[in-house]
């Protein structure tokens, strides 16, 4: 307390020019998203790329639903970390626990907001869900367990976890003193109070863990129990949702932790051990997810059910191929990046670090191979298949994918040296894969999974959908940015 008597810790209440600039950019993006949504409210969902399944050859669910399940997935991280820290006594992870909890809360708010634009009658959606909700609908779980119960539990946990810090900060004279007094609500940090808090948080953590599994499974069941949609109908859907939620959530947490490590200059508190631990957990989850993917692909291709095969081919070598391979490639590259820092300690030889020139050559070869494949597929010798998607986006996709591989590979030497860099790269890559996989879960089963012979459909999002999603991301970042300035993002209590 000696040095921190007058100023609030971790940059709270200190507004820099860079912060204002970030705020302005985010506010503009949120405004743009709201404008796009207003167009949709005025015109109807016709301004999106969504169309009816079947005779309209479209997809009825698209970007909005894909990002809804992505955001819910991301929310996994916070409460998991909080529960792990409590239950397994992982004191060294304590500095990231509040970031993680805030990530959960923000992500769940975004998830709720991304369902709204998907509804044709948003006002009715809010009113009728309260009036007529049917527990038999898998959506019921999404709205009750996930968006309400999970969010409420997280908020309670967050509040309790912050009380002690609020009590400490309320002693420092500042414009925010009243707010901290309110948060502390008479908490005085006596040993008895501390003990009671600790006990409450412990039991809450125990209650939250099963809630977490059920909530993410519920979202998987939204898709998994629909026998009329090949590609969705799978027992693996719910477990895969839980694992993918972990992958994207922990990945984003790694990125956020690295950002705060850099911005706040807290290299000691946000030490490398945290990144090593989270990176290891992420690598493990990615491995499990890859295993699930392989199991699923084997099952669908081996049985030879006509629609399943058609759908799988659309993924592996059809209109969705570039998205599929980008997602898979991102997962594999993320795994490699995350494992790289461990290699020196595992193998008693020096890591053969890639020369940047070699990496670029490999990347160019990958991009070239992609191009050759695309040229072959669109060569006039082959009979074009109706509805197999336009060639242009695929070309662009493959080229970009190749360039991205080049880019990632050329950073490999750094990953071998720095566990933080590896964690950030892994975190970003798995989130690219997560968004890709969410889209691949939602869309292809509607365009290529019709059991009656409607023929293949297509779905291309419009600027409205992209803008709304960008606005949602900006809103989440905005909430985060604002919170950081009114409350410390890491615990200050231990510093005393």
């Amino acid at each position: 307390m000696a040095t921190r008597t007058e100023t609030l810790p971790y940059g709270v209440g200190r507004f820099t020019a860079g912060w204002w600039l970030l705020l302005a950019v985010l506010a503009v993006l949120v405004g743009w998203g709201l404008y796009a949504y207003s167009r949709q409210l005025a015109e109807g969902l016709v301004v999106t790329g969504l169309r009816d399944i079947g005779s309209m050859a479209g997809a009825a669910w698209g970007l909005y639903i894909a990002f809804d399940i992505y955001f819910v997935g991301v929310s996994f991280a916070g409460i998991t970390m909080a529960a792990l820290i409590r239950l397994l006594r992982l004191e060294e992870l304590r500095p990231v626990s509040r970031m993680a909890e805030l990530l959960t809360i923000v992500a769940l708010i975004l998830a709720a907001f991304s369902v709204l634009p998907d509804l044709g009658q948003p006002v009715r959606g809010i009113v009728n869900l309260l009036r007529y909700a049917r527990p038999q609908s898998p959506f019921f779980g999404t709205f009750t367990l996930v968006i309400s119960g999970y969010l409420f539990a997280s908020l309670v946990y967050f509040y309790l976890d912050g009380r002690r810090d609020a009590a400490l900060l309320a002693r420092i004279p500042s414009p925010l003193q009243g707010f901290y007094r309110l948060w502390a609500a008479g908490y005085r940090d006596t040993p008895a109070e501390r003990e009671r808090h600790h006990r409450t948080a412990f039991w809450l953590a125990i209650a939250i863990v099963p809630l977490l599994v059920t909530a993410h499974s519920t979202l998987g069941f939204v898709f998994g129990i629909q026998s009329g949609r090949p590609g969705w109908f799978s027992t693996l859907q719910a477990p895969a949702f839980v694992v993918m939620a972990g992958v994207s959530g922990i990945g984003l947490l790694l990125v956020i932790a690295a950002v705060f490590r850099h911005v706040l200059g807290e290299r000691e508190r946000l030490h490398e051990g945290i990144f090593r631990w989270l990176g290891g957990l992420l690598a493990l989850l990615v491995l499990v997810y890859l295993y699930f993917t392989v199991a699923e692909l084997l099952t669908t291709t081996y049985t030879g059910h006509e629609v399943e095969v058609r759908l799988t081919l659309a993924l592996l070598n059809g209109p969705y191929a570039w998205l599929f391979w980008v997602s898979m490639g991102a997962l594999v590259l993320a795994l490699a990046s995350l494992v790289l820092p461990y290699v020196p300690s595992l193998v008693p030889v020096r890591v053969p670090s890639f020369q940047p020139a070699f990496a670029r050559a490999a990347g160019l070869a990958a991009a070239g191979a992609g191009l050759v494949l695309m040229i072959y597929r669109h060569s006039p010798r082959l009979v074009p298949v109706a509805g197999a998607g336009g060639p242009e986006p695929e070309w662009v996709g493959w080229v970009l994918a190749g360039l991205a591989v080049v880019f990632v590979l050329s950073w490999f030497p750094l990953f071998a040296r720095s566990v933080v860099a590896a964690g950030v790269a892994g975190g970003l890559l798995v989130n690219v894969a997560a968004v890709g996989k969410r889209l691949l879960i939602v869309v292809p089963s509607q365009t290529h999974g019709t059991l009656l012979p409607y023929g293949p459909g297509s779905y291309t999002p419009t600027w409205v959908e992209y803008s709304v999603v960008a606005g949602l991301f900006a809103l989440g970042t905005l909430l985060y940015t604002l919170f950081v300035k009114v409350f410390p993002i890491m615990e200050v209590a231990e510093e005393r």
Partner: protein, 245 residues
């Protein structure tokens, strides 16, 4: 309580699509909405080809996937077997649409009045329309139907809700047959009560072997097909099906 069902005789269907027209006129459905749709298939290889047709209304399943997933109960199963959509309650989440294996749900992506085939208020038409309501605006469609008294008839309702084949609930409740059945020149479509052993549908189903679409899913459809076979991988659609708005 009657147990309504439809029987479609594929031997008689000639693919004229009069049922699709009748449905559109009767129910005032917007552009690109086909509550009744007729697939046209070709099988075999030249010169030994065979063309056949498959009408596809809503199947009004007994174990309807759409009813199970509706979060607000806007899609429900009536006692007489009709699967109805309460467009006063629908929130437009389209879960029924993604759950349906038959592709019979249609969403109002835009304002149905802007999506009609004819702009009734068009300046050129005004001398002839003269402020009258359009002939296809059937006042019966606005009433409440069934014991539940919910608004389930007709299409072209409002933006952002789901609509689908109603088995012409407004006609069936008055003892008439659905528009597609009444309008079929080849008598390929039959409609009636399965509880009544003397009804046309019961008689035909007794006489002829029948199948239902995608029976293996366990949806228990109320639409029976006689005199043909289900589409299989060799049934190639004659035309690409894309009716966009």
């Amino acid at each position: 309580m009657p147990k309504y069902a439809m029987v479609i005789d594929l031997d008689r269907c000639m693919g004229c699509r009069a049922c699709m027209e009748a449905c559109k006129v009767e129910n005032n459905t917007p552009t690109a909405h086909f509550w009744m749709y007729v697939f046209r298939f070709e099988e075999g290889h030249y010169p030994n080809t065979h063309v056949w047709f498959l009408p596809r209304p809503c199947m009004h399943c007994d174990n309807a996937p759409c009813v199970k997933v509706c979060p607000v109960g806007a899609r429900y199963k009536r006692e007489d077997g009709l699967v109805a959509t309460d467009w006063d309650r629908c929130i437009g989440c389209r879960y029924c649409e993604v759950a349906c294996p038959y592709g019979v749900n249609f969403f109002n992506w835009k304002d149905p009045r802007k999506n009609a085939y004819l702009d009734w208020d068009d300046a050129d038409l005004r001398p002839r329309t003269d402020g009258n309501s359009p002939p296809y605006r059937n006042p019966d469609l606005d009433r409440r139907y069934g014991k539940e008294g919910r608004r389930t008839a007709g299409g072209g309702r409002l933006r952002g809700v789901i609509e689908k084949c109603t088995f012409c609930v407004h006609r069936v409740e008055r003892g008439l047959k659905p528009a597609c059945v009444a309008n079929c020149p080849a008598f390929a479509l039959l409609f009636g009560d399965l509880e009544d052993p003397a009804s046309e549908v019961s008689q035909v189903l007794k006489r002829k072997p029948s199948f239902r679409l995608l029976e293996e899913l366990g949806t228990e459809p109320r639409v029976y097909y006689v005199g043909g076979h289900p589409p299989h991988p060799e049934s190639k659609p004659v035309e690409e099906i894309v009716a966009r708005v």
